[in-house]
């Protein structure tokens, strides 16, 4: 029986104006997206490879002397572009694409032959490319927006009159006079709307993928197909939320036009305005340092360091290549190491505070499923903020690995005084380039899935709550 009603509903949908509208809209948007991203990934990967090999070349030239590696660090570490960036552009313009293992800002030289340079530290560039951006401020046309805004609107348009109009016309009473439970009616209406919109979405998405795939713009491996599959699944869950919302309102309200009014207002607030409003509202709760304040903070750190290790007392104590290390060598080693450690700690703390601010704002914006769905798709596509946090995790791990490697290599050299920092205290042997750990950024399916799982569960929860309320509302309503 359930299939019978579903079929009836399906035919009903296929004949409607909204079906035509949805078809045109979804296909047009997906086409624009595909054409917009033609060749984008190829260009990005070429650029990425070029930057990586430049970075590696620099490392290779530094490898002729272990001290150079200590001073220069691993160089710039780049984030690998995601093949699925056409799915969702998670504000890529505002997120740095690299982290830097760079030379320290510390350096001192005097006429007496003292010349000390700091050792490398990890730095996190903070760019604000928006400073000069005079383009009007609007969202992208990517899968994320098509799903979060268009698909939810379509769901509302398909269901606002699903029950109320049948009640208005009296056909609902007729249907229920057969031996059909109300649950069956509700489920079949839900299924009909879901199937109709899903098929339209799938057709549009396949056209999009076909264009991108045949033009050779993206290389989709098994992992990418898997992630695309999950993205489509997420889209279906999200779609179900709004279908049930439509059914819920439609069964409570007597009049279709009132039902649509309420639904549209809920939709505008929930989907369009709330994510931004909540983002702005909650980011004020936990403000971070501005760049000027950070500068002052850093100055204070330097003053503290100077108070603790007064390096001016040691400017006559020139390091030398003696084994065991002399007092001067040891002092400079300690100073330079501490300097790098504190600098790195400071910038990391600043970065962590910024990330925490965004994480808090993001968790509160999840009140709107439009945010959740975006975040989930971002995680699965390997773009956006979550991906950046993962990248930073990789960078940190690699930084430690690189540092340990340098220290161990130095320890293996019997001619080194093992006082890392000043040139005299460090091994100057060439290092085999192949043995140096290299940074490799990767987007793994399991990592992406773990990042997305909260959002997916949240979406499922929304769906379950709404479906239960729609069922209760429909069962108790008078026909």
């Amino acid at each position: 029986m359930i299939w019978h009603i579903t079929k009836r509903e399906l035919y009903d949908h296929l004949n409607s104006l909204r079906f035509a509208f949805t078809t045109v809209l979804l296909i047009a948007l997906m086409l624009v997206n595909a054409i917009g991203y033609l060749g984008e990934y190829t260009a990005q990967s070429t650029e990425y490879q070029k930057k990586i090999s430049a970075s590696l070349d620099k490392m290779r030239s530094n490898a002729d002397n272990l001290y150079n590696l200590f001073r220069e660090g691993p160089g710039t570490l780049y984030k690998k572009p995601s093949a699925l960036s056409f799915c969702v552009n998670g504000g890529e313009a505002f997120i740095p694409e690299s982290a830097e293992g760079v030379r320290s800002s510390f350096g001192i030289s005097s006429d007496d032959g003292l010349s000390i340079e700091g050792i490398w530290q990890m730095a996190y560039p903070q760019s604000n490319p928006n400073l000069w951006n005079i383009m009007p401020d609007y969202t992208n046309t990517d899968w994320g927006d098509i799903i979060s805004i268009v698909l939810s609107l379509v769901a509302v348009l398909f269901t606002f009159d699903a029950i109320s109009s049948e009640r208005e016309r009296g056909t609902l009473r007729l249907t229920l006079s057969n031996s059909i439970s109300r649950g069956t009616v509700l489920v079949s209406k839900f299924l009909a709307a879901l199937v109709t919109i899903s098929i339209l979405f799938l057709i549009a998405a396949l056209i999009n993928l076909f264009l991108l795939y045949t033009s050779g713009s993206v290389l989709l491996g098994p992992s990418e197909w898997g992630r695309l599959g999950v993205i489509v699944l997420i889209a279906f869950i999200y779609l179900s939320i709004f279908i049930t919302l439509g059914l819920l309102i439609s069964s409570r309200v007597s009049n279709s036009s009132t039902s649509l009014t309420i639904l549209l207002l809920i939709w505008t607030v929930w989907v369009v305005l709330l994510p931004s409003t909540l983002g702005a509202l909650t980011s004020g709760l936990q403000p971070t340092m501005t760049s000027d304040e950070f500068g002052a903070h850093r100055q204070e750190m330097h003053n503290n360091l100077d108070a603790q290790y007064d390096f001016r007392r040691y400017t006559d104590n020139i390091p030398s290549r003696q084994i065991p290390a002399t007092e001067g060598t040891l002092f400079w080693s300690k100073y330079v190491t501490e300097y790098a450690k504190r600098e790195e700690k400071l910038s990391e703390e600043h970065l962590n505070a910024q990330i925490a601010q965004i994480q808090l704002a993001r968790s509160i914006t999840r009140i709107s499923p439009a945010s959740s769905v975006r975040y989930a798709i971002e995680s699965m596509a390997g773009t956006g903020f979550t991906r950046h946090v993962q990248f930073l995790g990789h960078v940190r791990r690699y930084g430690n690995e690189f540092r340990t490697f340098l220290i161990e290599t130095d320890r293996a050299d019997p001619e080194s005084p093992h006082a890392i920092g000043p040139e005299e205290g460090t091994s100057q042997k060439p290092v085999r380039f192949e043995s140096i750990p290299k940074f490799e950024d990767r987007v793994s399916f399991s990592g992406a899935y773990n990042a997305a799982v909260t959002d997916i569960l949240l979406l499922l929860l929304f769906f379950a709550v709404l479906f239960a309320s729609a069922y209760l509302a429909f069962v108790r309503v008078e026909v």
Partner: protein, 503 residues
């Protein structure tokens, strides 16, 4: 009769459920966002105030010769209180510029004194205009979709026309009363926002600002009227209310949400950066090369022949020659900054050094100005034109026109920011004039401190006032005129359809 009709329509609109819901939603969103936006404005204002004092103090602390002025004066753009109505570019673009005689500043040389967490850009901002733009246009369409189709379905239209009422009167009555109902939430929102302003106390509005807010109100009404008329046209030309509703929603979502984003996306993706960048950069390099040649010629022909100033003079102190070159924004300048102590043996060289600076610095200024001419043209061609193309394409949607017009009223549009840049450029000219007045280039204080540091007490200070209201009005007028035209055309069409229609 006309008044009776208006009264009836007004009541019919006001007591509807949708009006109540829309009103509550609008007002609560307005309150929530205004509170956030005021807090944000206060933060930016504090940051601006600290930046101004900090930059001035740093200037006094670090600058003791005339040549050190290069890049040491930093001027800041105050936040615009009307950005609460339409944020536009006010919050986003750089708000701090360094001034020097070797570079004419542009928007592409700005930095941000209040650089917050850059990740915050991930959340787009909501301002009052956006709320009106999205929610009230929806309400306008909801009012309009059954205005004619609904009455026809119910049969009341026929009833009404049996009285001696002309169709135009009915249409006009419907239009006027709906407009009144739509104006109500706008006015109430603005009043609420103004109350919140006065409670916060940090926002001081000038007389001009009240006119600007009036302009925003007027534009809002015209915008909502356009959407109401779109709905009325649909309602007059469809048989059933349900169809009218569907068509209205399709048009609304396309015009307000989908089309503007689609346009920006398309322009961003398909806009080819003109190749002009490279050739312009080359031209600029040549300007500075020819300057460098002249400078070296001068050094060669002078008495201190063949010897570079940097190594020649017996001095102690600091000198640097910052050389800025950035091919993507065409930023290019070469300066010479010195703060020296002259040793007695070098004393006889002093007249030559003075002559050198008197020769080189005015030429640097000239090179900077020629650079700017090329740069201005190229940057406009590359970046400004792109934004203009996107904006012009977006103007097919009344929502975008409304956005641009209110932005112009608030002074947060590109022209408003440009106005700040122009003021900064004028200020740079004042500084150069001040140098000429003081004969700074040929003065010993240009490069050395051993005869005392420069007294900065009569250095002109920077002051900025927002563009006056007429300019804002001028920039808004195009979009307002377009919106009015849309209104007239829609009204005429609806009228013609309605008059010729069978009831």
């Amino acid at each position: 009769m006309f008044l009776t009709l208006i009264r009836r329509e007004l009541l019919a609109n006001l007591i509807t459920f949708r009006f109540l819901v829309a009103m509550v939603v609008t007002l609560s969103l307005v309150v929530a966002n205004t509170v956030v936006l005021i807090a944000d404005y206060e933060r930016r204002l504090t940051s601006y105030d600290t930046a101004v004092t900090e930059h001035h103090q740093r200037f006094l602390r670090r600058t003791s010769t005339y040549s050190q002025v290069e890049g040491a004066i930093r001027v800041d753009r105050p936040p615009n209180p009307l950005s609460i109505f339409n944020a536009g570019l006010d919050r986003r673009l750089g708000n701090s510029i360094a001034i020097g005689h070797t570079l004419v500043p542009t928007l592409w040389d700005t930095r941000s004194h209040s650089a917050d967490n850059p990740f915050l850009n991930l959340f787009s901002s909501v301002d009052l205009v956006l709320i009106f733009q999205v929610i009230l246009s929806l309400l306008a369409l909801l009012f309009a979709h059954d205005a004619i189709a609904g009455e026809r379905e119910a049969g009341t239209l026929r009833l009404m026309l049996t009285n001696a009422v002309s169709r135009s009167v009915i249409l006009l009555a419907k239009y006027i009363s709906a407009l009144a109902c739509l104006t109500l939430p706008v006015v109430m929102s603005l009043l609420l926002a103004l109350i919140l302003f006065s409670v916060s106390g940090s926002i001081s509005l000038t007389g001009d600002d009240w006119f600007r807010i009036g302009g925003i109100l007027l534009t809002s009404i015209i915008y909502l009227s356009a959407f109401y008329l779109i709905g009325l046209l649909i309602s007059a030309s469809t048989r059933r209310t349900a169809t009218a509703l569907m068509v209205s929603m399709v048009i609304w979502s396309t015009l307000v949400l989908i089309y503007p984003s689609l346009t920006v996306f398309t322009v961003n993706r398909f806009w080819q950066t003109p190749s002009q960048l490279e050739s312009s950069y080359h031209e600029i390099e040549q300007i500075w090369e020819s300057f460098e040649r002249e400078r070296m010629d001068f050094l060669r022909n002078d008495a201190i022949e063949g010897e570079d100033l940097n190594t020649n003079i017996l001095y102690s102190g600091s000198w640097e020659a910052p050389h800025i070159s950035d091919p993507t924004t065409l930023r290019y300048s070469k300066a010479e900054i010195r703060r020296l102590r002259i040793k007695p043996e070098a004393e006889p060289l002093m007249p030559h050094v003075k002559a050198y600076f008197q020769f080189s610095e005015p030429r640097r200024i000239r090179a900077a100005e020629r650079t700017w001419q090329i740069r201005q043209k190229a940057l406009n061609h590359i970046y400004v034109r792109k934004a203009n193309v996107a904006k012009n394409l977006m103007r097919f949607s009344p929502a975008a026109m409304y956005d641009f017009a209110t932005e112009a009223w608030a002074g947060t549009d590109f022209h408003g920011i440009e106005n700040f840049i122009t003021t900064v450029q004028r200020y740079r000219q004042t500084i150069i004039d001040y140098f000429y007045d003081k004969k700074a280039f040929s003065s010993r204080k240009w490069f050395s401190v051993d005869q005392g540091e420069v007294d900065w007490s009569d250095l002109p200070r920077f002051s900025y006032r927002r563009r006056d209201i007429w300019k804002g009005m001028q920039h808004a007028s195009g979009d307002i005129a377009c919106l009015l035209l849309i209104n007239v055309v829609l009204f005429m069409t609806t009228f013609l359809i309605f008059v010729r229609q069978e009831v």
